[in-house]
């Protein structure tokens, strides 16, 4: 006959049926932002480490022709340089493959003269002194350039990092929204049930007894809304991931998340629920302390 411990019928309120959906939307937005942030972060990470270890030495076609055996002059210099782990001249086919995205297959099929490229693997700690290396190499073969790929990507990475910052701001904002929403719900509950709370208090109920009624509701709410929001998030992320994969645009970050990142995503609803519980607990006890 007594339905659990709910003397206050917090769930009888018709408005309350809407609440899980509000929570679900908060979880969804937070989850999506987090997923975007993490996949951007992962992409940047990939570019970063992918580039850190390699340097490309480029000999323009004219320069290569002018000084016969450019490779033979350059490779020994490279191998002697401190911090260089390996240096390998690329064949014509490899070079063509690398340039294809820029110049088009047909252009390469024609008799476009290709530069000669050397793929250099460098240690990172300590790395080679690239300026000195570049000077040494162009002294040996005039026109030789050292490209550590950084300049061209640093700008991109800076932009992506700023987008990441925005995503993080959104996550924080959404967490804030969760707190504000829970605060609002709890305070509204307190206002609606002020008389009931006072009555329980006057009958000798302990503070914990009253607080638990609100907290239990917050728990149920958080879990229900969190579950809905999580499902939506997973479906969306998976769909985006699939779409990005189908498009196959190597340029763009793919939404592929690791196990840790899926775990972080799973933490969102739990986090929201925890926020809900703690906010509720603090608010209710604060209000109860005002009663004599």
């Amino acid at each position: 006959m007594f339905s659990g411990r709910c003397d206050l019928a917090l769930d009888a309120d018709p408005a309350r049926r809407l609440l899980p959906w509000l929570v679900a939307m908060i979880v969804y937005l937070a989850g999506l932002s987090l997923a975007g942030m993490m996949s951007l972060g992962a992409a940047v990470e990939r570019w970063d480490t992918g580039l850190k270890g390699t340097v490309t030495v480029q000999v323009p076609p004219g320069a290569a022709r002018a000084s016969g055996g450019a490779m033979e002059k350059l490779l020994p210099i490279l191998r002697k340089t401190q911090g260089v782990i390996a240096a390998r001249a690329l064949g014509k086919a490899e070079t063509a493959a690398l340039l294809e995205p820029w110049l088009g297959k047909e252009a390469l099929g024609a008799d476009l003269p290709l530069p000669r490229l050397i793929d250099v693997t460098v240690g990172t700690d300590p790395g080679p002194d690239l300026k000195a290396l570049a000077a040494a190499l162009s002294a040996a073969v005039p026109g030789t350039m050292v490209d550590d790929h950084r300049k061209s990507l640093d700008r991109l990475i800076a932009f992506v990092r700023s987008v990441e910052l925005v995503a993080m701001a959104i996550v924080i904002l959404v967490a804030l929204a969760a707190v504000v929403t829970v605060l609002f719900i709890t305070r509204t509950g307190l206002a609606i049930h002020r008389e009931g709370i006072e009555l329980l208090h006057l009958m000798g109920a302990f503070d914990g007894y009253v607080a638990w009624q609100f907290q239990g509701q917050a728990l149920a709410l958080g879990l229900k809304g969190g579950a809905i929001g999580s499902v939506l998030t997973v479906v969306t992320v998976a769909a985006l991931s699939y779409m990005a994969g189908a498009v196959g645009a190597g340029l763009l970050p793919r939404l592929d998340l690791g196990l840790t990142q899926w775990l972080v995503l799973a933490g969102v609803p739990l986090g929201v629920t925890a926020i809900a519980m703690i906010t509720t607990h603090v608010t209710v006890l604060h209000a109860l302390k005002r009663l004599p």
Partner: protein, 229 residues
């Protein structure tokens, strides 16, 4: 049981509603509390059931000074006091019997042990047909009787009733007072605030009278007046 020494009370920053109240309710006494509307009867009861703190003076309940008692002790004291509120204060979303059983539930008692007794009590106040209704669907007098049943179900050591017969006819009022007397015979200390002169005339219990914030009357019933303590 209940002892007030030089107790004053005010709401917020207003002037004192009660000034220098001194009295004692001995164990097992039965008093009426009278006074004009706005004289401070409900305020005095609030001090006893610990809904409000005195602005000065000493209140002792069950031998315990309430100004220095801890929060948990206060809760335990409240459980030994039954109150019929002037405005009933029933919870609309619970059924009548759940409302009545609430004090026992808060004490953590088992529902099965509670329910038979609650039903019996509701029959006594003439509400056997409304057990599972919501209090919101009851008439004024029926609600008042539910409030009374709730106040007495935990067999409190002190029973405070604020205008408990304002919405019922004289026959039911008499019946309710017999219920209070029955409790009193079993040891409950009873204090009833009322305007109903007729009713007070029918019972031979001492009357405390509030006027101008001061209390007068034959304090203590069968015991010494509080002033001489």
């Amino acid at each position: 049981m209940v002892r007030f020494q030089n107790v004053g009370m005010r709401y917020g920053l207003g002037s004192e509603v009660l000034q220098d109240i001194n009295f004692e309710l001995p164990l097992g006494s039965f008093h009426f509390l009278s006074g004009a509307s706005g004289a401070g009867k409900s305020s005095l009861l609030k001090l006893i059931y610990l809904a409000h703190r005195p602005s000065h003076g000493l209140i002792t309940l069950f031998g315990c000074d309430v100004t220095i008692a801890k929060r948990r002790e206060l809760a335990l004291i409240r459980r030994r006091i039954g109150v019929v509120f002037q405005d009933f204060r029933l919870l609309g979303h619970l059924s009548v019997i759940e409302n009545v059983a609430l004090p026992l539930k808060i004490k953590g008692e088992n529902w099965d042990r509670i329910s038979a007794y609650a039903a019996e009590l509701l029959a006594w106040v003439g509400l056997q047909d409304c057990i599972d209704a919501s209090p919101l669907t009851l008439s004024g007098g029926q609600q008042q009787r539910v409030a009374i049943a709730r106040a007495v179900i935990s067999k409190p050591e002190i029973l405070l009733a604020d205008e408990p017969t304002g919405n019922v006819d004289d026959a039911i009022a008499l019946r309710l007072l017999y219920l209070f007397e029955e409790l009193n015979r079993h040891g409950t200390t009873v204090l009833i605030a009322t305007h109903n002169e007729n009713l007070m005339d029918r019972f031979d219990h001492p009357r405390l009278h509030l006027a101008g914030g001061e209390l007068s009357g034959p304090f203590g019933g069968s015991s010494r007046p509080a002033e001489t303590l």
